[in-house]
Amino acid sequence: MSLSTLEAEPLSRDEMRRKSVRLGTSHVAVIYPATLDRWFDGLVEPRIEEAAPAKWVDLVAIDDSGRFAVEASSGEGASGLGLGEALAVFWERVSFLLVHDLTDAMALHAAAVRRNGALILMPGASGCGKTRLALWYRKHGDELCTDEVVTVSLTTDGAPVLADALPRPVLLKSIAEASAFLRPGEQKIEQLVSGYGVMLGLSGGSSHTSATIERCLIVFPRFAQGSPLILTPLSAGETAFRLMAHCLNVRNLPRGGLGFARALAGRAQALALDYGDTAQLEQTLDVLTRQSLAAPMSEEDFAALCAAFAARDSLRTAVPCPPRAEKRPVPAATTQRFPRRLTVGMATYDDYDGVYFTIQSLRNSNPELESALEFVVIDNNPGSASSEHLANLGNWIDGYRYVPRGEWSGTAMRNAVFEEASSPFVLCIDSHVLIVPGALAKLIAYLDADPSTRDLLQGPMVYDDLRKTSTHFEPRWRAGMWGTWADDTRGDDPTGPAFEIPMQGLGLFACRREAWPGFNPKFRGFGGEEGYIHEKIRQRGGRTLCLPFLRWIHRFNRPAGTIYVNLWEHRIRNYFIGFTELGLPTGEMEAHFAELLGAELAARIFSDIRRELNGEV
């Protein structure tokens, strides 16, 4: 790799090139000094002959001092410019003239790259990070079309076509990082620094051929140094709206380009990308891009992938653990036990608010059960700011037990709920779950009627609109999880009978204490428990039942972020341990994670897990 910075050279005003720059059906006549050929080769075409060009831009040397002037058929001229400024102004004028009267295509302020016939479009205003993102894709092998303007037309049957892409030297706003965007081993890169940024002459140049857009990912980037990675999936309507916001020739298009925007949005999956460093995009956006372009994906799957990768990044940057508050004294565990009809238990990690409202809403909604319930709260971060308050809840809540358990954290800590429970039946819930009024009494009645049950009892999860429900998980891999939310109409009627389901999210489940099979004690961190525990119940002669009355609401959002460490490695490790314990094949799981994370990373993770389980590390 080599970088060279050009100094302006003395030029003869006689040696000028007369060329054209074309964008779709629009063209601009240009003139520039022959000594600057290396900045124009591959970007301009032979001059389209016309008596008096309607649109033109001239870049000329003023004298032998290395200063330049730019004049154009429209807009003010600029003079006394260094070469970097002159080229930047020249291409700005050219871009404007190419699109300002374009009527047969939508001109988008966007970067674009191609991958095996698919299109990755990056619309955005100047300085939003689209060039940086396009160069990151290029570094990973994609073909750069442009970092500035594309045009989209429609076929007679309304299909969107990437009509053209503006060729121009790449202009990076940030000077410091230009060399970081070169491909491995890339040679003969030229670089010009000016007040407009860094202009790069890249080997291979840019290229484009018009083609119908069959597969497309649209990324609306927003770069801010130090920003966390946020991937926000966009609906088709939101995408079309954002496309219109970055349309450069709205006034020229019928209906303001609504038809173009809708057609393009309808062919693409789209997301808003906030990022602060291209390192965040490794194993996140590259995987998401590969998945999105490989095969059509439902909006739900796409949203799940975005969420999974954003969570992964935020947690990756948090490892090893976010700064911890000063440790405080760990309150003593409640020694008194409360053997009652049902123990409601939860493990929590710094979620005092969740615990408080979950328990108080249960008590408030079910006053008749005051003496029938024991509450067990497992504090999985004892000594935190929440601990004392969690312990003090016992001063006001009858039947409340506080148990600090901080030797390790993770999903298997819910075993401790069953270990500490004193009642014959245990309802284990997340510390941010609400249960509909009356459901607990019905659950107790159900358990009283079947006191020797070996079943795992669950219920429909109700979404925040209080209408939609998910009664179970369909057993298939998606976005790094075994199981996909699904709804069975048998769960619609809360008075309906129980029915068997393959698996369900574990925000709420009930089991006879003595029948609880337990999570594998080797589980660490979060993830991997759904499906595993259901199969374990089945292998012991039980079933997983959906009780339609046992409806629960789960708080998914964490605006303040998650505090605990959550890693792909933990999740995959738990799945692997669980599947191995139960004698289930791991091939499908390994293939899924290889596709999701890339074969190399997945292979490394599985190799590490096998070595650990074989006692090699």
């Binding site: 088709a236 939101e238 219109m244 809708r262």
Partner: protein, 94 residues
């Protein structure tokens, strides 16, 4: 303006505003202002009810029937949406 006065207003879509329906969402384009407006499904429903005949109170009632769980905050949300549509120049009072 009093609440009663607001309730009696009859909002009407500005003529010439282009509409594009995208699933349950709607995009509007105001040619005179070269401005696009995005309506989420709820706002799209409100927009559709602004036919120049229904007063605001009727629109609030109809939206309330569609979202019975929304409760008392619904009227404020409808009024806010109508205000935003007016501010974007796509809605006027009949």
């Amino acid at each position: 303006m009093s609440d009663n006065a607001v309730d009696d207003l009859v909002p009407r879509q500005v003529s010439g505003v282009e509409t594009e329906i995208v699933g349950k969402e709607v995009l509007l384009y105001h040619p005179g202002q070269t401005r696009a407006v995005y309506l989420n499904p709820t706002a799209a429903l409100i927009w559709g009810l602004c036919d120049g005949n229904r007063p605001v109170r009727e629109i609030v009632r109809l939206i309330g029937e569609s979202y019975p769980e929304a409760g008392n905050s619904l009227a404020d949300e409808v009024l806010t949406t109508l205000k935003q549509l007016r501010e974007n120049g796509v809605l006027v009072n009949a």
